[in-house]
């Protein structure tokens, strides 16, 4: 595989075109404390030539001071940025890293493995297309591995690479690898992943990360990087119905009134019938304005300014959606919370909920169940403490438009804000309307699973919060 071919080798124009037309993949790495996450990212950066000479010099100096690899360069130090972390020898926050090949650009969220940092992992996972879950080949699946797999599935990631690391330390044993893969499948089966790709590797030595491993002729699959270059991205968001949360009304003069926002999902074109939620008023799209000229259509991920055919009332907090698939408008929502604050949450607490571009007061009317982070099983809870996961019911001071998180991550995810400290107190995932009698809006696969019945579908029910 060639990384960063020089521009001279195929001409500047072709070179520029290739780099300007790459896609991006966002992924998260997770694993237990010593599974080698930071080393793996360091290896990806190093082997794709993203590490510069002055950084290597700094790394050699730092490796002597803080390294855990003896005299060798400790690649993890490339990623463990903050001084406090170096001193403790652990990763305590989400670090974002960037590298690119000719095929794709990558944004990596390196997240902590410690239990107390669930919120950081949830944050990293919320925008990731793929999760790389590390397992130490010697240790096997740990409690942490199960928690991370569960979290990743709760946050809506559909594709997982199971990176079985430190294979060199088990002599590249195929049977050990197969044993771990089977154990993971047994646990993750009900979690609803679209794909789990297992890859035996050694991050420390660089085997099967960017380049193939010499020690594992029995492994017929690709190295991790090649998988990351080829895995599909954002297919769910593209396929979902059109949603645009209005951020700002652009009214430079009496002739122009546009609704600016980021398209969360789907596509839109002039002439499309739309509904402005939560008011429910209807209109059609007249123009898709951008500074580069009007667009014939726009898709998820684009920031645009929509001009509607009618003078209807819409403002920040409104959501413009396709008339084919309205949103649920409600002042009461069931949600799964990832409690992030250091303070406790008790029923009756009032917080701010920021849902898309609207902020409302939210009262926690009930804490329905706490979720065991390892088994996904519900258990009773009178209060929540930092890093608890729990299902709650929120009563809002006005009606807002929402989707179930399982149907749409961007219109189904929200944050809770402590009104006094102004800190972000929780991440929230909106659950499907339990009182609704109709299941017509469910994704096909979920309905199929549910009608299948049996143990797996019940587990899926619990895990998916549906």
């Amino acid at each position: 595989m060639t990384i960063h071919q020089t521009p001279q080798s195929f001409g500047y124009d072709a070179f520029l075109t290739a780099h300007q037309n790459k896609e991006v993949l966002r992924f998260i790495t997770c694993g237990s404390v010593d599974d080698g996450k930071s080393t793996l990212i360091g290896r990806l950066l190093h082997d794709t030539k993203q590490i510069f000479d002055d950084q290597v010099t700094a790394l050699q100096r730092d490796s002597r001071k803080h390294g855990t690899q003896g005299a060798e360069i400790d690649l993890a130090l490339l990623v463990d940025g903050l001084q406090a972390e170096r001193e403790q020898g652990i990763t305590i926050d989400v670090a974002y890293r960037f590298f690119s090949t000719e095929k794709r650009s990558f944004i990596v969220a390196d997240t902590p493995g410690h239990e107390q940092y669930t919120r950081n992992m949830a944050t990293g996972a919320s925008t990731a297309d793929v999760a790389v879950i590390l397992v130490d080949a010697r240790q096997g699946l740990t409690r942490q591995t199960r928690r991370h797999a569960l979290l990743v599935s709760l946050l809506g990631i559909k594709r997982v690479a199971l990176a079985v690391n430190k294979m060199d330390l088990v002599g590249w044993s195929e049977s050990r690898f197969e044993e771990l893969v089977a154990a993971f499948d047994a646990y993750a089966g009900p979690l609803g992943f679209t794909e789990v790709r297992a890859i035996p590797l050694s991050a420390k030595n660089g085997d099967n990360v960017v380049l193939p491993a010499a020690g594992a002729p029995w492994y017929k699959g690709t190295p991790l990087l090649q998988y990351l270059e080829e895995v599909p991205v954002r297919v769910e968001e593209q396929a979902a119905p059109f949603r645009l949360a209005v951020q700002w009304v652009n009214r430079p003069n009496s002739e122009f009134r546009g609704f600016a926002g980021l398209i969360a999902s789907g596509r839109v074109a002039p002439g499309d019938a739309v509904i402005v939620e939560p008011s429910g008023r209807t209109s059609t799209v007249a123009r898709i304005y951008t500074a580069d000229g009007d667009l014939p259509h726009a898709v998820e991920g684009q920031s645009v300014t929509l001009v509607l055919a009618d003078e209807i009332d819409a403002s920040r907090g409104s959501v413009i959606v396709t008339a084919d698939a309205p949103m649920r408008v409600t002042d009461s929502i069931d949600a799964r919370l990832f409690w992030a604050a250091e303070s406790e949450l008790l029923p009756g607490a009032t917080l701010l909920a920021k849902i898309g571009t609207v902020t409302v007061n939210a009262v926690v009317t009930t804490i329905r169940t706490r979720i065991d982070p390892e088994t996904g099983k519900p258990e009773p809870a009178a209060r929540l403490v930092a890093n608890d996961i729990a299902d709650v019911t929120l009563s809002l001071d006005r009606a807002v438009a929402v989707d179930a998180y399982t149907a749409n991550r961007d219109t189904g995810g929200f944050i809770l804000i402590d009104r006094e400290s102004t800190d972000t107190a929780a991440l929230g995932l909106i659950q499907a309307d339990a009182s609704a009698t109709s299941l017509k809006d469910e994704p096909e696969e979920v309905r199929a699973k549910r009608s299948g019945g049996g143990f797996l579908s019940r587990l899926r029910w619990v895990f998916g919060g549906i």
Binding site: Q20, G81, F98, P252, G261, S303, I355, P443, A448
Partner: protein, 313 residues
């Protein structure tokens, strides 16, 4: 599994967004959130390439309207002459509302990089100057062009970074930023630093400048310039304030700058790259990170992290 339902609405290959399109859209979204949720935002304009990209993105974000915030340059009085000329020309061409602030107290004391060293100079003229200006104009949000790929402690910086009334950054009080939902709430006196191009790399910035044809300071392009070598850095003799050592004579070397700051603190690189494609080619082939040309980053281990806690941008 379940591939069938995806095909009806799924965008065709040609509708997939490129990396640069997604980065642009994310940055525009961040700017619009800031304008919608803060009282008095400002864009910190450092005149460099990242600022040029930031300004271009802002113009796009609010078109066809005008920029709903002013630009502000913290002038240490030690910028390259060409930077100041470029700044004033851009402000004139685009009709920008530009504020230029200099720490007058520091200037009166004669604080400068040559007399006081990089650490004191940067603290007084840049960090304190910035704090003065933010306080004076009561800005509650300030856009900056920092990127996470620049330096290790920045890799963990949030897009919306809360600062105390004293402008201090607390790495332990960082807010989670899931999805595209940002918490812009703050207490009285607190303010936000906003980094819309957090997720861009140096290469992305260059590719975007090329794609969008964004004007940048000519110092980024190689040409013969008079430089002296100091502690491994090529320093441009930009004016008479740079004292020459005995026997030291400036050499005309073809150089360019990968980052721009105060000229005595900004090292040039030897280069023949006089066009954007050549610069991009060099960026890919290069073996040193762009901050290598920044003297201030080497003021001891964890230098940048400490400066940030003290209120450096």
């Amino acid at each position: 599994m379940s591939a069938a339902p995806l095909t009806t609405h799924a965008a065709s290959r040609s509708e997939r967004l490129t990396h640069l399109q997604r980065l642009e859209a994310e940055s525009i979204h961040i700017m619009r959130e800031t304008v919608a949720e803060t009282e008095n935002p400002v864009m910190l304009y450092s005149i460099g390439k990242d600022s040029s990209v930031l300004l271009h993105l802002a113009l796009k974000a609010f078109a066809p309207g005008r920029l709903p915030f002013p630009l502000m340059h913290i002038d240490t009085t030690w910028k390259f002459k060409e930077m100041i000329a470029f700044r004033d020309q851009r402000a004139k061409d685009l009709g920008l509302d530009l504020i230029v602030h200099t720490n007058q107290e520091g200037l009166a004391r004669g604080v400068g990089p040559i007399t006081h060293g990089s650490e004191v100079h940067t603290d007084v003229m840049k960090t304190q100057g910035l704090r003065q200006a933010l306080d004076k104009h009561k800005f509650d949000a300030a856009f900056g062009g920092a990127r996470r790929d620049e330096e290790a402690s920045r890799a963990k910086e949030r897009i919306f970074s809360l600062r105390t009334a004293q402008h201090r950054w607390d790495p332990k009080r960082q807010r989670a930023e899931p999805w595209h939902v940002y918490n812009l709430r703050k207490k009285r006196g607190e303010s936000l630093r906003v980094f819309p191009i957090s997720n861009w790399t140096e290469l992305d910035v260059w590719l975007y400048i090329e794609q969008e044809n964004i004007p940048i300071v000519p110092l980024y392009f190689a040409k013969p310039r008079p430089v002296v070598e100091r502690e491994g850095q090529l320093i441009l003799v930009d004016d008479e304030r740079l004292p020459l050592e005995p026997g030291e004579t400036p050499k005309e070397i073809s150089v360019r700058f990968r980052t721009l700051g105060d000229y005595p603190l900004t090292g040039a690189v030897e280069s023949g790259a006089a066009t954007l494609p050549e610069i991009i080619g060099e960026t890919l082939a290069t073996r040193t990170s762009e901050r290598q040309g920044r003297v201030i980053d080497k003021d001891g281990a964890g230098a940048m992290e400490r400066k940030k806690q003290e209120g450096y941008f």
